[in-house]
Amino acid sequence: MHMENNSTEELLEEEYLLGEEEDIVNKYLTFTSADLVYGIPIENVIEIITNPTITSLPMVPDFVKGIINLRGQIVPIIDIRQVMNKPVNEEVSITCVIILELDAISIGVLVDSVLQVINIQNNLSAPPAKNHTFISGMTNLSDGTVMFSLDCEALLSNK
């Protein structure tokens, strides 16, 4: 009787530890844009859509591609290439848009292609120089490539 009790407690403790560990793991959705790999915290990603009809808006900065009708909701689309001062991708067969949401504000990010969802255990290291406001950190992936993490907050507040 006593023994049993002990073992359940141990089990519980183990589970608890596991749970704690999972908390540290951050999930990122990675995508490519102009040959660079970026990551977005998964909790900000709503969905990924392809080939939406983009209605362009006049008199907005170039990186704002326009707005789309996402099941009755109007979502603005920005081109991550132009945000990062890269040339516009001219020959695309499929446009890929990641819909992000933060504080009830939705936005679509136009990317070259979506890669995968990855777990990142260690903390991100800050970029050596504060070269771009929209990058909050970077890290090495298992295959050796470097992932830049997008700062969604900065992206949405558009500062």
Binding site: T53, T55, S56, L57, P58, M59, V60, P61, V64, I67, I68, N69, G72, I74, V75, P76, I105, S106, I107, L156, S157, N158
Partner: protein
């Protein structure tokens, strides 16, 4: 369980808020009239009683306690009818006390709404009220001789069953109707209530009954069995309708009319006649009022008014509106489906026409449900004018015109703050500091602020005007220069432009910051808020004569009659109300100015031509002025001709605001009011005629 609690809380908040609003209204009216009518006192008493009861039920003790004390206070008034004999300072104190209490209860209710803990320290308030009551009592004895005789009667609310009863109660009413019910019919008090309601339906509330508290006091039953139920009438004309009402009521054994002449002669003796009491329609009413307050007071008046208004959660109306919007879109999606092209479908067209008619109706009704009169917002200004008048020592009256004008609930909410701001400005900066200044300027000593609302087509115009000093353009210009917000040489500013400077960010003409205005955030916030709901602010002012602020706001934001316009691959919607005319023109009609800008003459005036494709940098094949179409646009005082590729057709569209993300790009100033989803799922951008012109001027 939780749900039930929530809805109860909702109900409580709604009820308490409207009661407090009502209370404030009564207080401000009474303050203007400088006296309470007996109805006012009854009404306040009833309000406090209800708040006390419901707050205690919801366990909001602080509110309930304070309401209880105020109820006590008004109980004294009700008994003694002394408010009219108050000294000036006493009355002022009373009004301040009640309004302060009202404010306190409002903030408490707000706290409940926001789920914050309530204030526990209400002792100050209670002592305030208590000292006032004490003061009242001492003043009472000195000013009113009869009060001694009155107070003992007032102190405990003696249930009438224990009091000795005569077979016919004392009254001054000339006509008494005695009603006896069938023997053994049971529940005589409820039968009496039925009769009372029947009479109320027939002749209104201008009668008295005895026993008065039949609905709440079941012991009146025995009295009615023994002596009958009495109805007192003041007027002979009321006797016949009353009798027929009684006749049609069930379980009546007999009734008789007893003329009451001798009693009337005794009246001066029975009621210790004070001047105030003679003003009362009949002294009997004050006698009768006593038993009534045992139960639910003032029920009698409310019976004749059938409740025909229900309260609906705003979010439900919002979703209704959204669904109606979707239906409107879907309807046009079905009727203009590309699959039907080239088909001749007589029955189908007939049915769609019917459908169109019904959806239009549905839409109108859904819209009208969101419409509320502007009176609620306007009446709040009374309080602001009063409070500021007192603290700034300015005598100002507020005149309200057109408070029944209805507009969309969301718009009403959003103009609340701007209105408060403007009225405060008028009070603080507009109306002269010294009464003598006004008299010297040949104005009447009392300042006036006029709030007016009226409809014009699809807009509502709200004007706030005062007869104060007006705006001094030189001072404004000087201040603007000091703040560095001038954009061109001083002498180039027209008067109109100078007044518009008042709306620029970071402008506040008052030299010193006061409690009420001049915090540095000024009229620019007003402008922003009004623009948020698609409105326009303009200021007119004559130095020495006053200032008038005009707000022009669309009636509703939700649905617009629009003309679909295409330019290149893009589709735009221009509100029909802005389109004056559309026409084709020849190259020869175009006039060029020195800079090569295009103009055209229409009906004797010259208008700029705005090429939408070049303004918005849209690629299109139609650049020749003869290929496209010119649309003559008019919006408030601006008029121009817009060059577009072609018209697609007229359509009702549901306005969707642009995503908030885009606000940082100043998109409102580029001629875009919002967007809408067309029947085919594509997005059409809704143009804003005014800011489109501004964008055009900026692009030159």
């Amino acid at each position: 369980m939780n749900n039930g609690m929530d809805s109860m809380l909702d109900m409580y908040l709604f009820e308490t808020n409207s009661l407090l609003e009502q209370l404030e209204g009564i207080m401000l009216e009474a303050e203007k009239a400088k006296s309470f009518s007996s109805e006012d006192i009854d009404e306040i008493f009833r309000i406090m009683h209800t708040i006390k009861g419901s707050s205690a039920m919801m366990e909001f003790d602080s509110i309930s306690k304070i309401a209880h004390r105020i109820e006590d206070l008004f109980f004294i008034f009700r008994e003694n009818n002394t408010t009219n004999t108050f000294s000036e300072s006493m009355r002022k104190e009373l009004f301040n006390l009640i309004l302060k209490t009202n404010d306190f209860m409002r903030t408490e209710v707000e706290k409940i709404e926001q789920n914050e803990p309530l204030t526990d320290t209400i002792d100050n308030f209670i002592t305030d009220i208590n000292t006032f009551i004490e003061k009242l009592n001492t003043e009472d004895t000195s000013t009113m001789e009869t009060s001694e005789a009155k107070t003992p009667a007032a102190s405990p609310a003696v249930p009438q069953t224990t009091a000795p009863l005569q077979s016919i109660p004392e009254t001054s009413a000339p006509y008494i109707i005695k009603i006896l019910f069938d023997d053994g019919s049971g529940m005589e008090n409820l039968r009496a209530l039925i009769v009372k309601n029947a009479i109320a339906d027939a002749i209104g509330s201008s009668f008295e009954c005895y026993p008065a508290d039949v609905e709440t006091n079941s012991e009146t039953c025995n009295y009615i069995i023994d002596h009958g139920y009495f109805v007192f009438l003041k007027d002979e004309a009321l006797v016949d309708p009353t009798l027929s009402a009684i006749k049609s009521s069930p379980n009546i054994a007999s009734f008789e009319v007893i003329p009451n002449a001798p009693k009337e002669a005794e009246q001066p003796k029975t009621s210790k006649g004070s001047a105030a009491q003679k003003a009362n329609p009949s002294p009997a009413s004050s006698k009768q009022a006593k038993p009534a307050k045992n139960g639910a007071p003032a029920n009698g008046q409310n019976h004749s008014v059938k409740q025909s208004i229900i309260s609906v959660n705003l979010s439900k109306l919002d979703s209704l509106m959204a669904i109606v919007g979707e239906i409107v879109i879907t309807e046009s999606m079905v009727t203009s489906s590309p699959d039907l092209k080239g088909l001749k479908l007589d029955n189908f067209t007939k049915s769609t026409r019917q459908l169109r008619k019904l959806t239009d109706e549905l839409q109108d009704i859904a819209m009208s449900m969101r419409m509320v009169p502007i009176a609620g917002v306007f009446n709040k200004m009374n309080r602001i004018v009063r409070d500021m008048g007192q603290s700034l020592n300015k005598d100002v009256r507020l005149t309200i015109i057109g408070e029944n004008t209805e507009l969309d609930k969301t718009i009403v909410d959003s103009i609340n703050d701007p209105l408060i701001h403007i009225v405060r400005n008028s009070m603080d900066h507009g109306i002269e500091e010294n009464v003598q200044d006004r008299i010297d300027a040949g104005k009447e000593p009392q300042g006036e602020i006029v709030l007016e609302a009226k409809h014009t087509g699809s807009d509502i115009i709200i004007t706030i005007s005062d007869d104060g000093t007006g705006v001094n353009p030189d001072k404004v210009l000087e201040k603007a220069k000091r703040n560095g917000i001038l954009t061109k040489p001083e002498n180039e500013y027209s008067k109109r432009e100078i007044l518009m400077l008042l709306l620029a960010p970071g402008f506040s003409t008052n030299e010193t910051v006061t409690e009420f205005s001049g915090r540095g955030v000024g009229m620019d916030v007003v402008k922003q808020n009004i623009e948020k709901v698609g409105g326009i602010v303009s200021i007119e002012s004559e130095l020495g004569e006053g200032t008038c602020v005009t707000l022009k706001i669309p009636l509703t934001l939700a649905i617009v009659d629009g003309m679909e316009i295409s330019v290149g691959e893009s589709t735009f919607t221009m509100p029909i109300t802005n389109i004056k005319q559309s026409f084709k023109c020849k190259k020869a009609d175009i006039i060029y100015d020195a800079l090569g800008r295009e103009m055209i003459e229409r009906m004797g005036n010259y208008y700029s031509i705005i090429r939408l494709h070049s303004l918005y940098h849209i690629e299109t094949k139609i650049t020749d002025i003869e290929d496209g179409i010119l649309v003559w646009i008019e919006a408030s005082d601006i008029s121009y001709c817009l060059f577009v590729d072609c018209f697609i057709g007229e359509q009702q569209v549901v306005v969707k605001p642009l995503p908030t993300y885009l606000n940082s790009f100043n998109i409102k100033n580029s001629g875009i009011a919002g967007c809408t989803i067309l029947g085919d799922g594509n997005i059409s951008i809704i143009l804003d005629a005014l800011s489109l012109y501004a964008a055009f001027v900026n692009s030159l």
